[in-house]
Symmetry: C2
Subunit: 347 residues, 2 copies
């Protein structure tokens, strides 16, 4: 499908496509320590909840592979420290700690093995997460097929393609899957200020896939629904609470409210690793505030006057009542979400 790779383990080193310079340059960077990977997540070399989960998993593998520990308790101390560093990179996405904890659990359950073997196990588990991640993304695309009408006009927020997930995509994966199954779709790609993931990344990925699309500013969604006949909205997610409240890129909530006012179905798409059953509602999801320069500057271009105050929340929470359905690798959850998500998660 894609002629680029997003994240790849090569000879004991982690290679990632630098998403900060897309779509103008395709540059791959190498990372060798958990601290470097943490920096890459924080600086948004890689972003998107599933993709940062994946990079954290490989970050743990780097910690294991390059460990010089000679006794096992030292090895485990190093890995737990690496997990703390990686988990601290960004606060909102559930997949980050999910991936770190999964690697640690796997190592814990193999703690009778020698260190050399544990190093292999950590890498194997990261690769398993990678493989399962791609399978889960494909499953979401298949589950969603009946929801996409022939000729669908879709509004999509942020970036949720291979760049955001490592492979295939969540919301964009659903669109790619529909396209591959012969449905003619047109995607209205909102640019997604401040970091412009829609304008920079989603349009680039859709172009590579040959899927027709138009870029629009974020605030045009109401205009589009009133005048262009939009069939549905598709968005990804960074964390889903047990009641279905969903944290996702800033602007998701506005899009959901606008869709609700027009009776346009609004679907959240994400792997079950994004569902955090330990959090009862969206009010408990931490929201990251990012640097103000994301708002005041684009490239080298200074937009605003100097010395002004800016608020730059990276995410917002969409209450479950505005979400038509949550498309996961294990099927589609519908309201009431407390029951349907519990069922999906086998709890």
């Amino acid at each position: 499908l894609a002629s680029y790779h997003v994240i790849q383990w090569i000879d004991g080193s982690l290679e990632m496509l630098d998403q900060r310079v897309l779509p103008h340059q395709v540059v791959y960077l190498q990372f060798n320590t958990p601290v470097e990977v943490c920096g890459a997540i924080r600086d948004m070399v890689i972003r998107g909840a599933p993709a940062i989960g994946l990079s954290a998993a490989y970050g743990m593998a780097l910690a294991a592979q390059h460990s010089l520990a000679t006794d096992k308790s030292e090895f485990f101390r190093e890995l737990i420290a690496a997990g703390k560093i990686l988990s601290s990179a960004r606060p909102t996405a559930a997949n980050l700690t999910w991936a770190v904890e999964r690697i640690l659990r796997r190592l814990e359950s193999s703690k009778q093995e020698p260190i050399d073997r544990l190093k292999v196990i950590a890498l194997d588990e990261a690769k398993a997460i990678d493989y399962e991640n791609e399978q889960m993304n494909r499953q979401m695309g298949l589950h969603a097929l009946p929801l996409i009408p022939q000729g669908a006009r879709i509004i999509h927020h942020c970036n949720t393609g291979p760049l955001a997930t490592g492979a295939y995509g969540t919301a964009l994966g659903v669109i790619i899957s529909a396209h591959q199954h012969g449905k003619q779709v047109h995607v209205f790609v909102d640019e997604t200020r401040p970091r412009l993931q829609g304008a920079r990344l989603t349009s680039w990925e859709l172009k590579q896939c040959g899927i027709p699309h138009s870029v629009v500013v974020d605030s045009a969604s109401g205009y589009l629904m009133r005048t262009k006949g939009i069939n549905l909205c598709l968005v990804g997610c960074d964390r889903i609470a047990a009641n279905g409240d969903t944290a996702n890129k800033i602007g998701t909530y506005n899009l959901a409210l606008v869709a609700n006012a027009h009776n346009v179905p609004f679907y959240v798409v994400g792997p079950t690793s994004t569902i955090d059953m330990s959090i009862p509602s969206g009010d408990d999801i931490p929201i990251e505030e990012r640097p103000i320069t994301e708002v005041t500057q684009i490239g080298d271009f200074q937009i605003t006057p100097d010395d002004i105050q800016v608020e730059n929340p990276a995410f917002d929470v969409t209450p479950a009542r505005y979400i038509t359905g949550i498309i996961t690798d294990r099927g589609i959850a519908y309201p009431p979400y407390k029951a349907s998500l519990s069922r999906l998660m086998g709890e």
Copy 2:
């Protein structure tokens, strides 16, 4: 109040502040013909419905002053041609044709006068529009005072200050008036993509007035209402139909829907010259599509991949049912607007 002037008649020439290079440069440009003024409106040297009405009025004065016509029918042909050119500059704002027609009506009613006298009359009428405009803006600010609570937290869209109106401002005029009357307000200035009038112009004007404010991306309004306790939204308008439907900068409709979902009062502020009683509803208001480079580039920085499709509607229409009140120079209209606007307009 302001240490800058937006539009000024100086020695037979029209001087305008170039709003395209604000806030980084303060540059004044001179215009001498209606064609030049039309270009300035189209290229957005000046923008904002009342301000482009004002520049069209002075554009007519330029046509009259510099006319070489020796007989009156030629003079009137020239003025009517100038009016057509100026009216064609941008399609959505009502004030443009309103101003042109007012100058033409004034000349028509004085057609027994000699050409030299008609030249003076055209300029006097433009100056009268300018003077009345400022008075109307001040009136709006006073009418709105009881609506602004002490300590109000206000979301404001686009730019509606002196830069948009020639003097004082409409929605921003209300804020400036509240500030001058001792109300402590905090303004959340949405950046207003694609042309960033909020981030570039409104923040610059508020800074000059010493009014506390924060710049946010457009799609953060729902997040702000959920988490920051917003008291009201204030926006300007480009054309108000007889039923209260309001065309304004793209994103106004989204903000109105988001405000409605949170029961946050949403006020439109504009002079009666923006009310077009000849248009029954917003469906009949022409919406301008602007160049795609407004979306794909910021400054010299190219955001998107090359050769992509873009939709760039400059305005949207907010249905009257989402508007709490329309603040005009003659008082505040409340629903049902058909009746209240008719009363205000004396029809």
